[in-house]
Amino acid sequence: MVVQQLYKVLSDDGKIITETSYTLSKNKLVEMYQDMVRARLFDEWMLKIHPMGRVSRFPPSIGQEASMIGSIHALEPGDWVFPTYREFPVFLARKTPLQELFNRMFASKLDILKGHEITLYGNRDRRIVVPSGPVALMIPVAVGFAMALKHKGEKDICIAYFGDGATSKADFHEGTNLAGVFKTPIILFCQNNQYAISLPVAKQTASRSIAAKATAYGIASERVDGNDILAVYEATRKAAERARTGEGPTLIEAYTYRIGPHTTADDPRTYRTEEEVKKWLQKDPIKRFRKHLENLGLWNKEKEEKLISDFKEELRKVTMETEKIEPPNPETILQDVYSEIPWFLEEELEELNR
């Protein structure tokens, strides 16, 4: 079986090894880098404060920043995002205020999801749709959403994020097939981070690449080095153009690695070796992109230090602020089940308040 080569733009030392179709402005390059660093700091902070007990659980994205930030920056602000539980960098890239994210993380009274769920998030105003807990379930939904966009003649498209594990679910196959049949304006963005909790991708599928699965559905695919932000950007831009010009969906496989645990409830030492993690740490997407920016003279040590200390201070402040906010009222348990409260929930509300 021929496995599509991984598309790369940056060498490990940050040099351009493949010419790209799209040129990014210096400001954009710096913004993308800053988003990556903030995403990493956000994750590290969450892992640090999780033992304090206010955050139900947290799925870190450490190691996958290039995949997430590179892809979201390749889209327009009006495009609709269907993340999984792990895509917090996407919220940061769409400039979600930290206070808003922390209200969600801590399930405070100001949480727009009203404390109904663990740390999944979505905000319609930012065109990011709240994910489902079970994996892959939002793929057909995103496809239907994109069908509705097309039906109404909108130029906006959808991106659905999912992991390698999701490709074993029926919903991936049914959704991808449907997207192909109707030439739906959607990007199916798979981050192959090598593990679904403990299961390595080789045991998830006998297929040697996720991108190969696109062939069977008659849709375009890209197989890209997920730790190379410029390669991810390029592949996603191409896919977005296909979607916007009526050429239909693209399955992107971003080949990357989950450096951290599945969530704070997981201990990866039980199923993988330290050597393996060390090997992938050498391929850190942030370091690689920093070298590139340094080569271009766009970044230096002082800028790095300032970015880190400013954002850490912001994280610390927001954490302290959010600590002071109470949890939502108990009545929120019974809200948003239906558009109007039916009689049996009214009775249960009385029982709750008795």
Binding site: I112, E174, L178, W343
Partner: protein, 324 residues
């Protein structure tokens, strides 16, 4: 006014709503040129075209998931699942996404959509073309469950369901798709969700039922009348939210409730009604609450007439109740 069948009432409701509201989209297997295997969508493809009458791949999870996505972006999808027996392929979408999107998103998104499916036995369909899976959906917070039994109610309730802001699982009793006819007004009218219908007034025994069983209950009531027993038949029409006032009223009136449905007894919707009556109206009871239901087996083929709560089985329950 035209004398039409229940299947034609489905068709008329869809056609009129699609004419009235261009957000209404029909999708499912064979719903286009074929007009659906029961012809409920006949002629819609010709009138509204492939953009609004969408023949989908054979893919229940995709049908329901995509319908949800459409609903979230402002369309009003009506998804057809060819037989209720095939709905399980989309079960996770219904239970984990459709039912929960409003709650999960803190009210940012709703799921104004209808999932239609022919259900029930009596058509020599065997175990995969005869099931009554309504209890699974009644048990899931966030869904409404509607089951009409007459052409008039079918049209009025389907229109209401399409206009509802919440997802409605709409089961159509296929045994009587063409067996019942009545005068149904053309044009716009609605029947409210959550309101039962008194299909027959009576004083001695109450039958609480829905769907095709309404007719078996009415036949049993006729038989009982000949023995001087006056039976009231309540057609629930909606299971979630069911009409609690109608249930209380008839139980207070007769004190002898019998619940009838095709679905198996164990944890069937009758169990909920039975618990509701026991919790609130135990002092109104003159006899134990009885249930006449399908047996706790997969749906059988050869002896389906014995499995179904037919006139005789219901009549026996009426006698048992009255003689208690």
């Amino acid at each position: 006014m035209a004398n039409i069948t229940l299947a034609q009432a489905v068709n008329q409701a869809l056609r009129e709503e699609m004419r009235r509201d261009d957000r209404v989209i029909v999708l499912g297997e064979d719903v286009g040129k074929r007009g659906g295997v029961f012809l409920c969508t006949e002629g819609l493809y010709e009138e509204f075209g492939p953009e609004r009458v969408i023949d989908t791949p054979l893919s229940e999870s995709a049908i329901i998931g995509a319908a949800l996505g459409m609903a979230m972006y402002g369309l009003r999808p009506v998804a057809e699942i060819q037989f209720a027996d095939f709905i399980y392929g989309g079960f996770e979408q219904i239970v984990s996404n459709v039912a929960k999107i409003r709650y999960r998103s803190g009210g940012q998104f709703g799921a104004p959509m209808v999932i239609r499916a022919p259900y029930g036995g009596g058509v020599k369909g065997g175990m995969y073309h005869s099931q009554s899976p309504e209890a699974y959906f009644a048990h899931t917070a966030g869904l409404k469950v509607v089951i009409p039994s007459t052409p008039y109610d079918t049209k009025g309730l389907l229109i209401t369901s399409i206009r509802d802001e919440d997802p409605v699982v709409f089961f159509e009793p296929k045994r009587i798709y063409r067996a019942v006819r009545e005068e149904v007004p053309e044009g716009d009218y609605t029947v409210p969700i959550g309101v039962a219908r008194v299909a027959r007034e009576g004083d001695d025994v109450s039958i609480l039922t829905y769907g095709a069983c309404v007719y078996d209950a009415l036949a049993a009531a006729d038989k009982a009348e000949k023995e001087g027993i006056s039976v009231e038949v309540i057609d629930l029409r909606t299971l979630v939210p069911f009409d609690k006032d109608a249930v209380v009223k008839t139980v207070r009136k007769t004190g002898r409730p019998i619940i009838v449905h095709e679905a198996p007894k164990l944890c069937g919707f009758g169990a909920e009604l039975s618990a509701f009556i026991a919790e609130r109206e135990i002092l109104s009871l003159q006899a134990p609450i009885l249930r006449v239901t399908g047996f706790d087996t997969p749906f059988p083929l050869v002896h389906e007439h014995l499995y179904l709560p037919n006139e005789n089985r219901i009549f026996k329950a009426i006698k048992k109740s009255i003689e208690f």
